[in-house]
């Protein structure tokens, strides 16, 4: 009996440590002036390292882009491109030459000045050193040249609508020629924050950059605290361990934060398409009919209601509603199990569903499994540790039948044009549409991208379960929270706390 006591104690201790994860640190010290000096933000999926040039995943740019690294341009809250390190830019009439005029007096956190050489270095480095799949977005760049210390000319092989937009994402982040030796641990950027401390497995603290060129951010210190467990994160906010939940992971629990005198909830949309990916190169999903059957077999409304408490939006293809060329494609494959069985022709299949061990994926997978079972597809759910193991097995090796992941990158429809991407979707027609969209006028771009989204949906290249909501809960008095999370970063520069 004594050993049982020990077991219970051990279990209790584990839970207690999980629940107390939010204690200590953070909490927001308030200086004598009455203005808060620090703010802590709860987040999930801690980055494996701090180098988003070589490591996939959303957690690194979420923490570092805009805050530590800046690009020549950025996305504002409306999704428009706004100047950042470039004061202005000119586009030639043939839309192949971009001339950026750089801001003066910008220095890196290492003390090195930011010059045209760094821009050339950073853009060349995307091609030479970056390991991310999305780097193909900058394939249109032919060359980057320094005209003088504060002027850079980028020449494109062809007109590209996506170029300037990509420059506002992590691909456009500016690195120092002398600051890339240890990107995984020591980020060097021009941003309003610098890395304060990184306690692996716990938190990442960013401190205000004393030599920042622009307006000082209101918060001298912001800490990202990472939680594996949704309930632990909730408890941390309830008990004051953190000030903000950057992305609610247990939407059913929102009523805990219903008291408007204590908490504020922000709900908007994101770029995150929660995709049920199907390996287009592996039986049975190399057969379009089987993929179409899967799309018909899933009751998306029921899935969203049960798996994510009805928060979010149904989309039906790879375009989020915040993009100008969004079209509602949820009608392409209405919930119709009979039709699905007909498409399967009475055959039954057994497949594996390798998912990241994240709440939205584990919840959705159980619904998907139950609904697929109705039409004769037995899916074995296999949760993999995220990010490392999932990235390795599913994303890199494409060793899977089905998976579920939230694709958070903005305007990322292009990933389907890459045959080697883990969807293994291969339709030259789609690639042509994207190329023509990139080269065309604004109207042609919108038309082509609508066509492309339609083609993806009709081909059933994947199934789009729902659009991940931007669901933020914060203590009363925290301001500057973004309604729509349409950029890759969690922008700390506007955050303030009374």
């Amino acid at each position: 009996m004594r050993r049982i006591g020990i077991w219970i104690a051990a279990g209790g201790l584990l839970l207690a440590t999980a629940a107390c994860g939010g204690g200590g640190g953070g909490g927001g010290g308030t200086a004598a002036t009455g203005r808060a000096q620090s703010l802590s933000v709860g987040a999930v999926a801690e980055p494996a390292n701090l180098d988003f040039t070589s490591t996939e995943g959303a957690a690194i740019p979420q923490a570092l882009l805009v805050n530590v690294y800046e690009g020549l341009v950025k996305l504002d809250q409306d999704g428009k491109i706004a100047p950042l390190l470039a004061e202005k830019w000119d586009v030639s009439d043939d839309r192949r030459t971009y001339t950026f005029t750089l801001r003066d007096n910008v220095t890196f956190s290492s003390g090195a000045p930011f010059t045209a050489d760094d821009v050339v270095f950073s853009l060349d480095r995307v091609r030479s050193d970056w390991k991310l799949k999305i780097k193909t977005q900058l394939d249109a760049v032919e060359k980057t040249e320094k005209k003088d210390d504060s002027t850079v000319v980028v020449t494109l092989k062809r007109p590209s609508n996506g170029f300037l937009y990509s420059m506002a994402t992590r691909l456009g982040a500016m690195f120092s020629r002398t600051g890339v030796a240890d990107l995984a641990n020591k980020p060097v950027g021009t941003g309003p924050y610098v890395l304060g401390a990184w306690r692996r497995g716990d938190s990442l603290r960013l401190d205000a950059n004393p030599s920042y060129w622009g307006a000082k951010p209101p918060m001298p210190s912001v800490t990202l605290k990472y939680f594996k467990d949704a309930t632990a994160m909730n408890n941390a906010l309830l008990t004051g361990g953190i000030d903000v939940i950057s992305s609610v992971q247990a939407p059913e629990s929102l009523q805990q934060f219903a008291d408007p005198a204590r908490f504020e909830t922000v709900e908007g949309s994101t770029n995150g398409e929660v995709v049920l990916s199907m390996n287009n190169s592996r039986p049975p999903f190399d057969d379009k009919k089987v993929r179409q059957a899967v799309r018909h077999a899933i009751d998306h409304k029921a899935l969203l209601d049960t798996a994510w408490a009805g928060r979010g939006q149904l989309i039906g293809s790879m375009t989020p509603p915040t993009d100008p060329w969004y079209e509602d494609r949820t009608g392409d494959y209405p919930y119709d199990p009979a039709k699905a069985r007909e498409l399967l022709g009475g055959k039954t299949y057994e497949v594996t569903m390798r998912i990241p061990n994240l709440p939205y994926a584990v919840n959705s997978a159980q619904v998907v499994k139950s609904q697929l079972a109705q039409v004769g597809i037995t899916a074995e759910i296999e949760p993999l540790e995220f990010p490392a193991r999932w990235l390795d097995q599913v994303f890199t090796k494409a060793d899977y039948h089905l998976s579920i992941i939230n694709h958070v990158e903005p305007r990322d429809m292009g990933i389907f044009a890459d045959k080697s991407y883990y969807f293994r979707y291969d339709n030259p027609e789609f690639g042509k549409l994207l190329a023509s969209a990139d080269a065309g006028t604004e109207q042609e771009q919108a038309d082509d991208l609508k066509q492309a989204a339609k083609l993806l949906s009709e081909d059933a290249a994947a199934d789009w379960l729902f659009l991940f909501p931007n669901l933020i809960v914060a203590k009363k008095g925290v301001t500057g929270l973004p309604k729509n999370a349409i950029a890759e970063s969690f922008d700390f520069t506007a955050l303030a706390k009374r």
């Binding site: 051990a10 584990v362 159980q366 540790e385």
Partner: protein, 288 residues
């Protein structure tokens, strides 16, 4: 063994006692639920039904439904199966490995082999089972099998120690001395005399280990390293009900009670069996 102490005369002659009855009943309930679940559950425990989300108890759903609209009662029944499955396999691994090791160590008390076995046992004993399971889960992926193996391996030393202690006692009895004098080999003595006489102790150990294994499986599933979704498991039911703890506490209540019932049942059963079997053991010794 501390020998068959007879408490208040209740257990004399190996009659059934209250602990044994209560433990047997609780364990019987769990076993019954598990067995019945093979043939019948009120509803499909993994069937998602959006319309029945967080259904209140009643109307064919005696304990209501969870956020996926899955029937809690059916999940508990199938969860019992998972629990027993893990317990049987984990305890089986532990007993199959631990008992021979303990008997060998007990029969060669001063040999190097005994030392080696018991020191390695101490090493494994010092390693927390949960940690081992989390480690295996991280390497081989979470799953019922991984959890069972980890729990089983971590329980081996408990069996080895108990088996060795009991074997040491049996080895100095007159009948073993007689058998040795008659030229019986060690394997024969082990099978003919040692195993039958330490059996009752091992049964008690098994029931206690079973309780520990149930708790461990629940803890592992709670942490996401145990049974894979959507196979019902009490631990994962607890974990999934966490976010609804404030709005729908019954979802956490029922699997919590189930774990408590099973653990209590096996512990009472172990205590009861000890009381039940000890006097018999003494009688056998006296007669032997």
């Amino acid at each position: 063994m501390k020998g068959g102490q007879v408490k208040g005369g209740r257990t004399r002659g190996g009659r059934l006692n209250a602990g044994l009855l209560a433990g047997g009943t609780l364990v019987g309930l769990v076993v019954l639920a598990a067995l019945v679940s093979f043939f019948w559950t009120p509803h499909d425990p993994t069937l998602v039904d959006a319309a029945g989300k967080l259904r209140e108890p009643g109307g064919g759903y005696p304990l209501g439904a969870d956020k996926f609209g899955r029937d809690t009662f059916s999940q508990l029944m199938v969860g019992a199966r998972t629990t027993l499955y893990v317990g049987v396999v984990a305890v089986g691994i532990a007993a199959l490995a631990g008992v021979p090791l303990g008997v060998v160590a007990g029969m060669t008390p001063r040999g190097w082999l005994s030392e080696l076995i018991m020191r390695v046992n101490d090493l494994v004993f010092a390693f927390p089972a949960l940690l081992l399971a989390v480690m295996l889960g991280a390497v081989y992926g979470p799953g019922t099998l991984t959890a069972m193996i980890a729990i089983g391996v971590a329980t081996v030393p408990a069996f080895a120690r108990v088996a060795r202690a009991a074997t040491l006692q049996v080895m100095v009895t007159d009948y073993v001395l007689a058998a040795r004098a008659a030229g019986r080999g060690r394997p024969a003595i082990a099978v003919r005399h040692v195993l039958p006489n330490i059996g009752s102790v091992l049964i008690v150990q098994a029931s206690v280990s079973f309780a520990i294994a149930i708790l461990a499986e629940a803890a592992l599933s709670f942490l996401g390293f145990g049974t894979r979704p959507p196979t019902p498991s009490w631990g994962r039911m607890l974990q999934e009900s966490q976010e609804l703890l404030f709005s729908t506490p019954r979802l956490a209540l029922w699997p919590g009670i189930a774990v408590a019932v099973a653990v209590l049942g096996f512990n009472l059963l172990g205590d009861g069996l000890r009381d039940y079997l000890d006097p018999k053991l003494r009688r056998i010794r006296a007669e032997g």
